[in-house]
Subunit: 167 residues, 2 copies
C-alpha cells in the first residue's frame, strides 16, 4: 500500500503544524505545506484571508513528481539536487525548499508577499521542522489491538462460518 514516507505524531505533529501557521502569518504567504516525496500532504496551513485553495492532494502530487524531474536536471550538472525552486506566475508563486530526503516545505504566495521574506522564513521553518523530524522519527505509537479484539474476532468468525466445533 502507498503510505506517507514520514509521520509525525502527537506533540511533534502539533509543534510542526504551529511552525507552519507561524510561517504563514509572518511571511504573508497564502498556504504552507509539508509534503513527502511520494506526494502526500503531511500537514498544511492556510492564511485566514487566502482564497479556498485548489486540491492540495493534486498539488502535492504534481510538486513531488516535479521535484524528482528537478533532481534529474540537477544531477546532469553534478549536483545532488536543487536546494530551492521558485515558480513565478502572474499573481501566484511557489517556493519549494529541499528538506533532507524525505519532505518538502512548499510555500504558496501572491503579490501581497515579498519573495525574499518568503524564502527567509520558509528556510527558518524548514530547519526547525527538520530538527523535529530528526528527533521524533520512530515515535509512532505502538500498534495494539486492544483487549477485546480477540473475543470480537471470534464472534465475527463464528457468525460468518458457524461456531467452531458445531460442524
Amino acid at each position: 500500500m502507498l503510505e506517507p514516507s514520514l509521520d509525525l505524531y502527537g506533540r511533534a505533529f502539533d509543534e510542526a503544524e504551529n511552525l507552519l501557521k507561524d510561517l504563514v502569518a509572518k511571511s504573508r504567504a497564502r498556504y504552507a505545506l509539508i509534503i513527502d516525496l511520494k506526494g502526500f500532504v503531511l500537514m498544511h496551513a492556510r492564511a485566514l484571508w487566502a482564497p479556498v485553495p485548489p486540491s492540495l492532494d493534486s498539488f502535492a502530487t504534481l510538486v513531488a513528481s516535479n521535484y524528482s524531474a528537478n533532481r534529474a536536471i540537477a544531477q546532469l550538472f553534478g549536483e545532488d539536487g536543487f536546494q530551492e525552486l521558485v515558480q513565478q506566475g502572474n499573481q501566484v508563486g511557489t517556493f519549494i525548499e529541499g528538506l533532507g530526503d524525505q519532505a518538502l516545505p512548499v510555500t504558496v504566495y501572491d503579490d501581497s508577499a515579498n519573495l525574499g521574506r518568503i524564502k527567509f522564513i520558509t528556510r527558518e521553518t524548514a530547519a526547525e521542522v527538520r530538527r523535529l523530524i530528526d528527533e521524533h522519527t520512530g515515535d509512532a505509537p505502538a500498534f495494539s489491538l486492544g483487549e477485546g479484539w480477540s473475543g470480537e474476532v471470534d464472534s465475527l468468525l463464528d457468525s460468518l462460518f458457524g461456531k467452531r466445533g458445531d460442524s
Copy 2:
C-alpha cells in the same frame, strides 16, 4: 516524425544565436539555450571558460517535460503557466523564462554570476528572440530537388533493377 516545433533559418538564426552569445557574455552565465516544448535544443551558446556541458539534448528533454508539469501546477492556481522558474543548487542554478507557447530560453549559471543580472538579461534576450520568431516564422527555404535530381534517380534505379526496357 518528431520534429522541432519551431525553426529559424539563415540570417534570423544567426541573429538569434548572436543574442544568446551576448547573453552569456553580459550575464556571466555558463550556457544559454533556447529549447522548444518538445525538448529540442533550437540553439545554444557556451561561455569560453565554462566546463564542457552535460548532454544538452537530455537537459532540454528534462526541462521541457518539467515545464509541462509546472504548467499543470500553475493552472491549479488559475494561472496560465509560470513565467519564470529558478532552480538553485549548491553551485549551479538554472533560470527558465516562458517564451510564448513555443520556446523556452534557459540560462545555466553558477556562483560567479548574479541571479538578478541573469534574470534581467535573459528577459531582455527573450524579448528580442520573440520578436525574431514572430517576424521570421514561415521563412523556411523552399524545398527544391535541383535540376540533376531526376537523371540521378534514373541512373540509380537503373543500376539497382537493370535499365528499364531491358527486361
